[in-house]
């Protein structure tokens, strides 16, 4: 997984609440067996019209936001389906940081598996940043210091220390868990004694 440390980009603001993962990447694109190539179909139904032409007033179709790496958006982002295709599509488009006041649980976890930083801020701070995004000026994200810098201001954010470490070091959590193989084996052995039916033995 690619490491995440700091990021500078002009943020794009998408003012919709409860954006679900069907909206982020509709089902017709879930038929892939790969993780890549989904960026062009990100937000497909609100980004393209029925003829497949880009809808001009959609934020990610506009210069300079079409190159944004940061997406500011409404609360409960990523609700609905567990599809990891949603963070894959965001990542493939180039978005590696999302700023919202809340996220759906599965989506939030999925972000960290893909080197995407989902920042949680209070609604007031979101308003301030979204206003600033209209200036089309870069803001910067410092994960180590847990800060967002814009203009001459800064906003502090908080993040779980384990999740932060995974992003900073680009950790493969399967490799970390495999280091606990002995513990897993002993758990299984005990389970076989206590609840033999689990293994259908």
């Amino acid at each position: 997984m690619k490491k995440f440390n700091s990021l500078r980009s002009i943020p794009a603001y998408l003012p919709i609440v409860n954006i679900d993962t069907d909206m982020i990447i509709p089902k017709q694109f879930l038929k892939t067996i790969k993780r890549t190539g989904l960026g062009k179909n990100l937000f497909f139904e609100i980004r393209y019209d029925n003829d497949g032409k880009k809808i001009n007033n959609f934020i990610l179709n506009q210069e300079p936001y079409n190159k944004s790496n940061i997406l500011i958006t409404g609360k409960n982002f990523g609700c609905g389906s567990s599809r990891e295709h949603a963070p894959w599509a965001l990542l493939d488009f180039g978005i590696t940081c999302i700023i919202s006041s809340s996220y759906a649980d599965i989506f939030y976890n999925n972000c960290f598996k893909n080197g995407i930083l989902p920042i949680v801020l209070e609604e007031e701070k979101i308003k301030e940043l979204s206003e600033y995004s209209k200036r089309k000026q870069e803001i910067s994200i410092d994960l180590e210091g847990e800060k967002i810098f814009f203009g001459n201001k800064e906003i502090k954010f908080e993040i779980d220390s384990f999740k932060k470490k995974c992003l900073l070091e680009g950790l493969d959590d399967i490799a970390l868990s495999l280091k606990k193989t002995e513990k897993i084996s002993s758990f299984e052995k005990n389970l076989k004694n206590q609840k033999p039916w689990i293994f259908n033995d």
């Binding site: 003012p15 919709i16 609440v17 409860n18 679900d20 069907d22 909206m23 509709p26 089902k27 017709q28 879930l30 038929k31 892939t32 067996i33 790969k34 993780r35 139904e45 609100i46 029925n50 409404g74 609360k75 409960n76 609700c79 609905g80 389906s81 567990s82 599809r83 990891e84 963070p87 809340s102 759906a104 649980d105 599965i106 976890n109 999925n110 598996k113 893909n114 779980d160 220390s161 384990f162 470490k165 959590d173 399967i174 868990s177 495999l178 606990k180 193989t181 513990k183 897993i184 758990f187 299984e188 389970l191 609840k195 033999p196 039916w197 689990i198 293994f199 259908n200």
Partner: protein, 467 residues
């Protein structure tokens, strides 16, 4: 310290308590399907890892499969690749698969319970957000992403942070014609689509205990629509009777040992919950969603909301956006809204009791001529049972199509979908924009309400069809 059922299941599964506050949890049951597993297997292969416990994993193709005649295979090229890839991966890693032509094939959350793969007190995961369905058996069941699917395949564990406890009590009896689907829609309407975020919900109370096993599954199934990753119910005799003699249920002396353990799976009477909510079942009415979020619910007697009455600007914008997408005018009675399609099926309402409910209402009646309607059974076994009971004949007689099992028009990954602006009374779980097809307009209802809408051609009160 008094514990909740969730606390107890959690504690029993901790392989390693990690310093950062997370825990490595053992996974007893892993369900996989064709859409969210290919990249996980690719990861396993690329890193030269193995599947740790192939026997604790069960696979089925459900999202992409056609619901029409299957003898010629899958015509959509990408769908076929995905379904074939699942078969190849299962073969390579020694995982049991119910293929498309196996009569045990069906929606992943329907076949788990049907086979007895789903059991009380277990941790069950699947790369699918409706995994909470299995919580009806008193298991901790939740949806995971594909990276986590890979983690489970490789280690039979997951890294998790403990959620908070939320109990929803529903007491009393449901009025005639009101079902567990209306109960969960009402709950989501009350707590909101993010009301359960960060919590595991335990459904309790006299109404919940009185529900059948299948009705409980409908309630737990939609926990994710209230933001909760998992929802569960204390297992009782109904659950044990349901599981007895299922193909993968414990056998012989293991059955007795399992029953002893399952009977201990109860929330302590003095356990405390971080959040609690109570509903009176007597006050619940048949529900219909009007908008593009499952929280947008009204009763069959009510009108479409007016955004002008909403003070919160975000909510006002959201209502306006939904009404525009749904092609609805504020203050219209929902009963006056005409429908084009009816979909009966999905992991929410594709089980035999759901089909019986629909057949009871459709018997000796025809669907409205402008409506096209279909029933998609949740599994091959549900299909077989329905045909044995002659339900298929009632559906066909009424003008419904009787299809092969799968997820079908719940998410429209196969050929079953709505055309732009088509309006559907659907027994599924999501009314998101484009969910059942681009521009399609979904209204979530109970199976009985869907049948009533099919007959009337507009939303109608199922209670008038109760004798």
């Amino acid at each position: 310290m008094p514990l909740t059922l969730y606390d107890k299941i959690w504690n029993e599964h901790v392989v390693n308590q990690q310093e950062d506050g997370t825990a490595l949890l053992f996974v007893d049951r892993h369900l996989i399907h064709e859409v969210t597993s290919p990249q996980a297997f690719e990861g396993i292969r690329n890193s030269k890892r193995k599947v740790r416990q192939p026997k604790l994993t069960l696979a089925v193709a459900d999202h992409n499969v056609p619901t029409t005649n299957r003898s010629k295979g899958i015509s959509d090229k990408d769908s076929k690749i995905q379904v074939d890839t699942l078969a190849e991966n299962c073969k390579e890693f020694g995982i049991q698969l119910f293929g498309m032509n196996d009569k045990r094939q069906g929606i992943v959350h329907i076949i788990g319970p049907e086979q007895g793969f789903t059991q009380p007190g277990t941790i069950i995961v699947c790369g699918d957000s409706h995994t909470a369905t299995h919580g009806a058996f008193g298991s901790l069941a939740f949806g995971i992403g594909t990276s986590e699917v890979e983690h489970v395949l490789a280690t039979q564990t997951l890294i998790q942070k403990k959620a908070k406890n939320f109990r929803i009590n529903v007491n009393g009896n449901l009025p005639l014609g009101v079902t567990s689907k209306d109960v969960i829609l009402q709950i989501i309407g009350k707590i909101g689509t993010a009301g359960g975020t960060g919590y595991v919900i335990e459904y309790a109370g006299s109404l919940i205990s009185s529900l059948s096993v299948e009705q409980r599954m409908t309630v737990c199934n939609m926990s994710i629509e209230g933001g909760a990753r998992a929802g569960l119910i204390e297992p009782d005799q109904k659950i044990f009777d349901y599981l007895k003699n299922k193909p993968m249920s414990p056998k012989n002396e293991n059955w007795d040992k399992a029953i002893d353990f399952w009977k201990s799976l109860k929330t302590d009477s003095d356990a405390s919950f971080d959040k609690e909510k109570s509903l009176n079942a007597e006050e619940i009415k048949p529900m219909v969603t009007w908008g593009t979020s499952p929280q947008d619910v009204i009763t069959i007697d009510e009108k479409i909301p007016n955004p002008e009455n909403e003070k919160d600007i975000d909510k006002k914008n959201s209502i306006e956006r939904s009404l525009k997408y749904m092609g609805l005018k504020p203050d219209t009675f929902i009963k006056n809204i005409k429908i084009d399609k009816v979909f009966i099926g999905s992991c929410t309402n594709g089980r035999i009791e759901d089909l019986r409910e629909v057949a009871k209402i459709l018997k000796d009646k025809k669907k409205a001529s402008h409506v096209s309607a279909m029933v998609v059974p949740g599994s091959g076994l549900v299909k077989e049972q329905a045909e044995q009971e002659g339900l298929d004949k009632i559906f066909i007689e009424s003008g419904f199509e009787w299809r092969e099992p799968g997820c079908s028009m719940c998410l429209a990954m196969n050929a079953d979908k709505l055309k732009p602006e088509e309006r559907c009374a659907s027994t599924s779980n999501r009314n998101f924009e484009g969910r059942q097809g681009r521009g399609g307009r979904t209204h979530l209802v109970s199976p009985g309400m869907a049948a009533a809408a099919a007959i009337s051609g507009n939303f109608d009160d199922v209670r008038k069809y109760q004798n």
